[in-house]
Symmetry: C2
Subunit: 165 residues, 2 copies
């Protein structure tokens, strides 16, 4: 039961992998640890450059149907990767399973999201999400009530918008 609605079919399994290996001449233990994320699902298919900045990978879990009217999947964002701005006609639930990332609802500050966090975006509200600059993000998403629609994609997130410094 997989969906191709956002990215396409899944590909290969990576149970544990380095998201951004440290430079051999500048080793730091904390950075090496932060960049090794737990992957529960196959990494999946790379997202389109038209919709994502950097490398984001999608693995579908539940395809929308008339019984559950729910779409679910996993997205792995490499460090620095993020979605374009977009909205979901019925809203979206994000469940963070590892790493550190950003979520921003239009008009609000960026929220830092980490393993174990759950954030929501209301129906029809513009938002974007992705990894932090230095640590990747593993996130499950759930889109309910798919009879209302799935996603409406919009413009890219600028470097200024992505910066929280």
């Amino acid at each position: 039961m997989k969906t191709t609605s956002l990215f396409g079919p899944g590909l290969m399994v990576l149970l544990l992998y380095a998201c951004a290996p440290t430079s051999p001449d500048e080793p730091t233990e904390s950075t090496a640890e932060e960049n090794t994320l737990q992957a529960i699902f196959p990494r999946g298919q790379k997202g389109s450059e038209d919709l994502f900045k950097g490398n984001a990978y999608h693995h579908g879990l539940i395809a929308p149907d008339s019984i559950f009217t729910t779409l679910a999947g996993n997205v792995y964002f490499e460090p620095g990767a993020r979605s374009n701005w977009h909205c979901h006609p019925a809203g979206q639930i994000l469940i963070i399973t590892d790493g550190i990332g950003y979520h921003q609802i239009e008009g609000q500050d960026i929220e830092i999201i980490r393993k174990g966090d759950v954030v929501t975006c209301p129906p029809g509200v513009k938002h974007w999400h992705g990894a932090s600059p230095d640590v990747g993000l593993q996130q499950l998403y759930v889109i309910p009530n798919t009879e209302k629609g799935i996603v409406n994609w919009q413009e890219a997130v600028t470097e200024d918008q992505y910066s929280i410094d």
Copy 2:
């Protein structure tokens, strides 16, 4: 945003813990590895003995409301723990994030469920789920369309029903 609908409020964080420590006089590497599961969420509150056999713990993630009409949470089943038979008026999606467990829809064989698996139970269909006898289970659940109802609890799963030998 937490729900108390199934078990009650969550409690404390266990990022990594042994589900069933091996006996010190019978150490086996494989068993020790299998029984150390990754926990993404706080362990949460122990399920009622009236509804669960053994130790099952619930941590709520999304409470049902009129916007998302979705209930989501995490259940950690210790080895041997399982739910009673029950059904969901709008069905249920289970996403396995670690461990090994069982899922059975009435009239069908037990399915063995493992990290990365996704299984569904249709609306109004009787089922139960839980850990395998020797390895625990970390599972997310999603109940869509909560305006139709959440869960109707039924009788316990017998030892005969739990056995797949």
